[in-house]
Symmetry: C2
Subunit: 640 residues, 2 copies
């Protein structure tokens, strides 16, 4: 019988964690069991190469050198997921092993550039009649003191005061009731009540306090890769702070399919739900609230938008049938939940509304996103493209909405790209190249002086477009020359060095290989093929498009010209393209602050038609044809 070995993990910052490795477990599994959040977007299947660690002492078995260069193997690098200890081990874990998922970022939205950008969306909402009206309001009340002659209980005296203020019939949430006796006496009968008025007129008292509280709401976008949240004042609609973090489910796989498979294993569903709620949303909400000096329990309403699988996992609902024919999810609309049943650290009685899904692969992020994107814009035929971990595309306007998902994969969020990462600190978000020397100029997310740690979606589009424009890569995504920054490994795989080791965060070269280019080309090809199919089904010409809206957390924006030049977006005048950022979060914000917006998102989703591309006869041909730079049919792209 194999014995358990001890693995000593050492980190760049000097930290050391010792963990036992049960017999048969990999170095990656032992790290996870010890709560070391080593990245593995491929769920430990040995295909992504993100879990590289360096063996300092000890013996391992397994295909530890898979996906590694000769030089890396010689230096002791190995895939943690493909290595099992055959003795006690010491391994060092590079900072890059956390890059894909790290980078919680909080933004104060009460001032500055982000506030201004957001205020434009708020003004549009108000101009269209979506004033702040969430049904939740603040009331000041005067409650009579306890009296010996008629010793009416505190709750019943509060109900009298509510009735006198026109708030009846009313019920108290349990947290409000629990605090009532102390608040009443501290406040000498004058107090503030946070109340929710239902459509029926019935009133629920959510909280009571002696001082005037801030009444907060939270909009959440639950992406497969990243989770973003925005805290707003429900009375005014004013955004207070926002933040984003990696979806902690990433250790179960980068894409929804791996997550769904994991969710059907024993304890899988509860593990995925816990990763999302406890490891990701709870600390994110805590940090956002701390940034504005409020408590998470002051969040009285939540509006969340996520794809169909994420919405199932958020609620802990069986998601297994999403990936099985005929691809029928457990729900389109989740119905309203209460804070306590979600496990979120918000008010126990907070309403948690989720944006409706319309199919197994077109979810609430898209219905909320289309609502936000089409707000007050011309209602001709528009195209909405969400470049998330999968690409979802919607065609239409006020007359019809036709939606589909294309399995673009996670390339736009940094997945399946050797040095890919999501748009967090250290990510290269823009690249330009000297067309002759191919010397790059990099824009890196983060404070001045931040060294590059990887590349995110917008940087990747820039890079491929520039390499292609310079003739450094050919239509098949192969390097056309070999000099300077372009090199070839022993197996003949070409790569371009974006940054040399001394310039990067962890001292290793950042490079894009032909394998990465293959993944990018498949991703962009999937998007373009899906656009072509939607246009064909709707019987529209590409020239009918009046607007193309690009959404997604791919970086600081998107180089539209570059994306057109590599054949990802249709070749149309640049003026009709807009990059809107995280439309899922914008739509969730609209649902949060306005009951009417929430109803309109639900109505919009009812009118969307879902096209299952995998069942669509022309899709595969379109995809194969689009897997070239820019396309096999050069006539689509200025006759290139």
């Amino acid at each position: 019988m194999t014995q358990a070995y001890t693995i000593t993990y050492t980190f760049a910052d000097g930290a050391v964690i010792q963990a036992p490795a049960q017999p048969g477990r990999t170095v990656l599994q032992a790290a996870w069991a010890a709560r070391i959040a080593l990245d593995a977007p491929c769920a430990g299947n040995g295909t992504c190469g993100k879990c590289k660690v360096r063996l300092r002492s000890g013996e391992t078995v397994g295909e530890r050198g898979r996906l590694l260069s000769q030089a890396e193997r010689e230096e002791g690098w190995m895939l943690a997921c493909a290595s099992r200890p055959a003795s006690d081990l010491v391994v060092s874990v590079p900072a890059a092993a956390f890059k894909y998922k790290s980078g919680l970022r909080i933004t104060d939205l009460r001032a500055g550039r982000e506030k201004e950008a957001f205020d434009g969306f708020r003004r549009t909402l108000v101009s269209l009649g979506y004033q702040p009206d969430s049904g939740i309001s603040l009331r000041e009340l005067a409650v009579s003191p306890p009296a010996a002659e008629t010793p009416t209980a505190d709750r019943e005296r509060l109900l009298e005061a509510l009735a006198a203020a026109g708030l009846s019939p009313a019920r108290l949430s349990l947290p409000a009731l629990r605090g009532l006796p102390l608040v009443l006496r501290e406040a000498a009968g004058r107090l503030w009540a946070v109340v929710r008025t239902e459509l029926t007129g019935a009133v629920t008292v959510l909280a009571l306090s002696t001082g005037r509280p801030v009444v907060c709401g939270l909009a959440v976008d639950i992406g497969t890769t990243s989770v973003s949240a925005l805290l707003a004042d429900l009375e005014t609609g004013e955004p207070l702070a926002a933040g984003s973090a990696a979806n902690a489910q990433i250790r179960y796989g980068a894409d929804v399919i791996n997550r769904i498979i994991e969710s059907t294993r024993p304890d899988g569903l509860s593990g995925l739900r816990s990763a999302l709620i406890n490891e990701c949303l709870t600390p994110l909400i805590g940090d956002i609230c701390a940034a504005c000096g409020v408590e998470p329990a002051q969040i009285y309403r939540v509006a969340a938008a996520g794809n169909t699988a994420m919405t199932h996992l958020l609620a802990g609902v069986w998601a297994g049938y999403i990936r099985l024919e005929p691809y029928v999810p457990a729900f389109f609309q989740l119905g309203e939940l209460r804070g306590a049943e979600t496990g979120l650290p918000v008010a126990a009685d907070a309403e948690v509304a989720t944006a409706p899904c319309i199919g197994s692969y077109v979810g609430g992020d898209i219905t909320a996103g289309v609502f936000a994107a089409l707000l007050g814009r011309p209602r001709g035929c528009s195209l909405f493209i969400d470049l998330g971990t999968n690409g979802e595309i919607v065609l239409g306007g006020s007359d019809f909405l036709l939606a589909c998902a294309c399995s673009a994969g996670p390339a736009f969020e940094g997945g399946e790209i050797g040095c890919g990462m999501r748009a967090a600190n250290g990510a290269i978000e823009a690249v330009s190249l000297d067309p002759v020397s191919l010397t790059p100029a990099l824009t890196v997310i983060g404070p001045a002086g931040t060294r590059p740690a990887g590349i995110c979606g917008s940087g990747l589009i820039d890079l491929v477009a520039a390499l292609f424009a310079a003739g450094a890569i050919n239509a098949k995504g192969r390097f056309a020359r070999e000099d300077g920054r372009i090199r070839r490994d022993a197996a003949g795989l070409g790569s371009y060095v974006l940054a040399w080791g001394p310039e990067t965060e962890d001292g290793r070269d950042l490079e894009i290989s032909e394998a990465d280019l293959d993944n990018f080309i498949r991703a962009k090809g999937a998007v373009f093929a899906a656009v072509r199919c939607l246009l064909a089904v709707a019987d529209c010409a590409v020239t009918d498009l009046q607007a193309v809206y690009i959404a997604g957390g791919i970086g600081g924006g998107i180089n539209i010209a570059g994306a057109v030049s590599v054949g990802m977006l249709p070749d149309l005048p640049l003026a009709i393209f807009s990059y809107l950022g995280n439309t899922s979060l914008l739509g969730a914000y609209a649902m949060l602050i306005s009951d009417r917006a929430e109803r309109d998102v639900r109505e919009l989703s009812g009118g969307m038609t879902y096209l299952e591309l995998s069942a669509h006869p022309g899709y595969m041909d379109e995809f194969v044809a689009a897997c070239f730079l820019p396309h096999t049919d050069g006539s689509f792209f200025g006759g290139l």
Copy 2:
């Protein structure tokens, strides 16, 4: 600095538990910290004498011999609450130290004598129009299969099936939604839904299953000393099983005042709530459900009745003001709770209704109890006396209801009586005496051959009445002679030996002392004085009373003649007295199975007037006059 010692607790069954005693902690506190449930009805104040343990080795400091006889002190007995270790200790814990709180008892109500007794109450309910109608019902549904052409989600197809069955608008509880995909496919579209229909007509699906489930509800009586629960089939109203257990809060004190004081200490409220929910109700519900082969999650509705303090502690609501002038509780009506927010192991979305309170010391046990007691009975002027840990008394009928609480103390439930215990296995529930030799004949609760371990309320009334009738005690409760079973200790305190050591469960004599008689006389005097005050306030003569209903968990019944002879109950024809048992549980059962009964209990409580005896001018004089056997005014009791 004092160091921590180790205390080794040994038990009669051979078990041994070692626990550290932090400096300054008593032997009792160290036991509690080690989760040994040593009894201390006085909350460790050194006044009840229930926490006696025997020191086998080691040294202690403190007044360890308080309340003990010379013989006990010589044998090494000590009060755990008054002894602190001065070295490592070995103490043996007698079985009696658990008697006051032990004795969880489950009764199958589907057959037998208990069923018949209960069926009488059910027939009366139905005859008065309280048919089973809790709003919760079972529906069989046919849901269309998932289809590739129109891949409507599971929830939305279920909603269609519900609408086709006239159940609309409907929402799914989260547990129902979570199980939906698997149930639907296992059942091939035919399934059973447990649905709750609100008064508005809206429908909530509480659970789904492939087979026909039992739809259960739970009635609960939360007493200060004992907790009782009854499981019923909500469709038919049929009782399935019942059980009772000690209220695990007893370690914080036998009476509500000590519990309320504890609840205002740091973590006190959560500790008391946890003792009730986790240590008492959860195992009780588990055992009751196991007896009928159902799961606690099949309980879809709960109706609970408890005194005002218990209802606050059940919900975790601040109870501190109950005991402070002007004695105003946090609520009269708790409002409806959901199972999940109570922490009970029932369906997450189960309604938990609680009987309304009308004052700090007249709670839901009394409003539910009066509803049950006055059901279908003549509506003249009746008296309702609940002999719980405190006595509560209600006078009236269909015209008026006047209620008060008298601080009778816990004597009727075995508290403050040296060998007192609640009506559980081993309790002497009836006593008769040979008037000359004073040799007792004892009736003991439990299987044949059960040895007596203590005495409960009904036994105590029997015993005092018999001793008084035989002239063995005088009007002041002092022993009038000294021979045979009557003895006097060195301090001159007289006592009567009910059972000699060889006959008892733990080998020690069971005796009633003059201190116990004092406590009993104060308890019975408080009841009688309260009755006199109520009659005076209502301007009724005692002869106006058409019925006297006695309720409470005092044992197998009450010896009415005996209770009259000692001056506890008014001297009226025996035919007008009825012993009804646990009316709080009966009332909760009525509320459980019938929405109309629930409404009527709330309406009844609205019409009850609360009389605060402590503020009533004549009460103290009445009480002092009643603290004799039978009374200072002999004319009240046949001119004795």
